[in-house]
């Protein structure tokens, strides 16, 4: 496999980083990644990332949860063995519905929450014993790092450009694929 070159530009302030991201986008260089120690408000918009669809998946999981709860209790309480328990009407699902609502609610929340978290882990590839993908340990503390692929551009040109955006440190890195 051929190796590709990337440039790591390191910043020490999130406002400078935001301005730099905007400049880089205007200059049409490709930002591979940005590593920050904390969420920087508006960074995703500045980078032009597509909005997350996690909330939509959560809604679908919730619908699955409420269906599961209703089907489960309909089978157990109404169809399989409709006993008279304390005079509660078990002739149809609707008649005994109020008693099922707390479980329907909880299972909706349970499915929506847990499956959404699992989806998040899957999509972000987070799991125990995963090797950290951190290019520079300082980015977990107080530094911000922007990774730009060199591609067909001139290395020195990019370096000069990034210096002007306020980067405190610029490293050329060979990334083996």
């Amino acid at each position: 496999m051929e190796s590709s070159k990337v440039i790591h530009a390191i910043y020490t302030d999130d406002d400078v980083l935001m301005a730099a991201v905007k400049d880089v986008r205007v200059a049409k260089y490709h930002i591979d990644e940005v590593f920050t120690p904390f969420p920087v408000h508006g960074l995703d918009k500045a980078m032009g990332l597509a909005p997350t669809r996690l909330a939509i998946t959560a809604f679908i999981y919730g619908c699955i949860g409420i269906t599961f709860a209703a089907a489960m209790m309909n089978f157990i309480m109404i169809e399989d063995w409709p006993q008279d328990i304390g005079g509660k009407p078990s002739f149809s699902y609707l008649e005994n519905l109020p008693a099922f609502v707390p479980i329907m609610f909880e299972l909706t929340v349970f499915f929506a929450a847990h499956l959404m978290v699992l989806t998040f882990y899957l999509r972000s590839r987070i799991y125990p014993f995963k090797d950290a993908e951190n290019p520079d340990p300082r980015t977990t503390d107080d530094h911000f790092l922007m990774e730009i692929s060199v591609g067909n551009h001139n290395e020195e040109e990019i370096t000069e450009f990034l210096k002007n955006t306020g980067a405190v440190e610029i490293n050329l890195v060979d990334k083996a694929h």
Binding site: A55, F59, G87, P98, A99, V101
Partner: protein, 462 residues
């Protein structure tokens, strides 16, 4: 500065006049003599019988040229026979007719009361929301304070009207809303007798005046400080407003709770529920916020509020969404606890509602919960004005039905209908509400000038 347009003034006056005519008609047409009620009941019974007649009679009736006349004649005959046969039955029939007569007479009173309470409750809910925004020092909402102050301007006339209708129903009316005001009823009723130290007209009216005085005093001073802050050169008015808002919220939660026992729960003096105050509060809170959102969207569409952006609308819509769910939570908690334990003395409240008010009772859950839940869940939809307006109109109608379901089953029972008395009462108070609120909004600049949080509010972005 906003100026009340002539169009809006004419519109509100038209609503008031139209509503007033309908209300007068409602009162005129609700005085039925006992004989009229009996004929009505007999006709109803006849219609009912026709449906359940066996085949031969049904054929006989369809063969006749004038089926309707035949059927009612038949019913009258059978009724007459029954009355001759058993004197007891006839007496019972009279008692039943008197009961229905009273219910019919109650209808315009209750229709007026429900509508008056509904609009009063919007102003009160908005006042609570306003006080919370000030006490919480919310950074997004100061831009909307003048609109909230406008909505709460209706509280003083609105609350006085509600109290007047309540007291008048027991003094000039014939105990048309509150059955505990009727000395004849109380004389035979041990349960009400036990509560009569709380439920008597004098003490009821006095309590009502205390709530109104408390709410309106706060409203008066808060508005005054809010306007004074515009011209001041320090923040002392802002601080005063913060203090009285915090104090008002304490008074409010007590007075609102007691008000809901007095003005609503006591239409059913045999029934009680501990979370009723919260339930009514949820209803008024969500209606108040919805009206604030609707007026904000209206004024923005007229170009009066250039600094209000879609994030403000988004926040109001989030409150509408969240509090609709909160209302449902309380509605369901109250319903399920009584349904589950099924204690006869408590559960009759819901049995009458489910049997006689099935569609309004369950329909309002769809309007107040399912519809806002599905419409306002999406973050993008909450920023689209016409979506918020649509959801708001449904929420307001749903909460009118909520108050309707609280009052009507105890006063008019099975004789309910949403007809001329109900709709005209809504029109009457809607016209009054629009006139009072927009007049109040036109009396001060729409954007507070020196509020310490106004800059943040103008740049609010979500």
């Amino acid at each position: 500065m906003y100026t009340l347009s002539n169009k809006l003034r004419t519109f509100s006056f038209a609503l008031i006049i139209l509503g007033f005519i309908g209300v007068v008609y409602g009162f005129m047409s609700s005085h039925k003599s006992l004989d009229e009620v009996k004929t009505m009941l007999a006709e109803d019974a006849a219609h009912h019988e026709v449906k359940e007649h066996d085949d031969s009679q049904a054929i006989h009736i369809t063969e006749a040229h004038d089926t309707h006349a035949e059927a009612s004649k038949h019913a009258e005959e059978s009724h007459g026979e029954a009355a001759h046969a058993e004197g007891e039955d006839a007496h019972h029939g009279d008692a039943h007719a008197e009961h229905v007569q009273h219910q019919i007479a109650n209808r315009p009173w209750s229709a007026l009361y429900v509508a008056a309470f509904f609009f009063m409750m919007i102003a009160l809910g908005a006042l609570a929301f306003y006080a919370i925004q000030i006490a919480a020092q919310a950074g997004w909402s100061p831009l909307l304070f003048r609109i909230m102050e406008g909505v709460t301007a209706y509280l003083l006339p609105g609350a006085i009207i509600v109290l007047l209708i309540a007291v008048a129903s027991g003094t000039i009316g014939h105990y048309n809303i509150f059955v505990w005001m009727d000395p004849e009823v109380v004389a035979d009723d041990k349960l009400i007798q036990g509560k009569s130290s709380w439920l008597n007209i004098g003490w009821f009216a006095f309590r009502g005046l205390i709530y109104i005085a408390g709410w309106c005093t706060y409203r008066h001073f808060s508005r005054k400080f809010s306007l004074a802050q515009d011209l001041a050169d320090d923040n002392s008015n802002f601080k005063k407003n913060f203090r009285i808002s915090a104090a008002f919220l304490v008074f409010f939660i007590y007075s609102e709770s007691i008000m809901s026992w007095d003005w609503i729960m006591s239409v059913d003096p045999h029934w009680y529920s501990t979370l009723f105050g919260w339930y009514v509060f949820a209803s008024m809170f969500v209606s108040g916020i919805t009206v604030i959102a609707l007026i904000t969207i209206y004024l923005k569409s007229k170009g009066m509020l250039p600094s209000v952006n879609d994030s403000h609308i988004h926040d109001l819509a989030k409150f509408m969404f969240g509090l609709s769910v909160f209302w449902t939570y309380l509605w369901f908690s109250q319903f399920m606890l009584l349904w589950y334990s099924n204690i006869p003395e408590e559960v009759t409240y819901f049995i009458t509602r489910i049997e006689d008010y099935n569609l309004p009772f369950f329909g309002m859950v769809v309007l107040n919960f399912l519809f806002p839940l599905l419409i306002l869940m999406n973050s993008d939809y909450k920023r689209i004005p016409w979506f918020v307006v649509m959801a708001g109109v449904v929420i307001l109608f749903g909460h009118y039905m909520d108050i309707f379901n609280m009052i009507m089953p105890s006063t008019v029972g099975e004789q309910w209908f949403i007809g001329i008395p109900e709709i005209s009462s809504i029109l009457l108070f809607a016209g009054l509400f629009i006139f009072v609120v927009f007049t109040a909004i036109s009396k001060a600049p729409l954007v507070p000038k020196r509020n310490p949080l106004i800059k943040e509010s103008e740049h609010f972005h979500y």
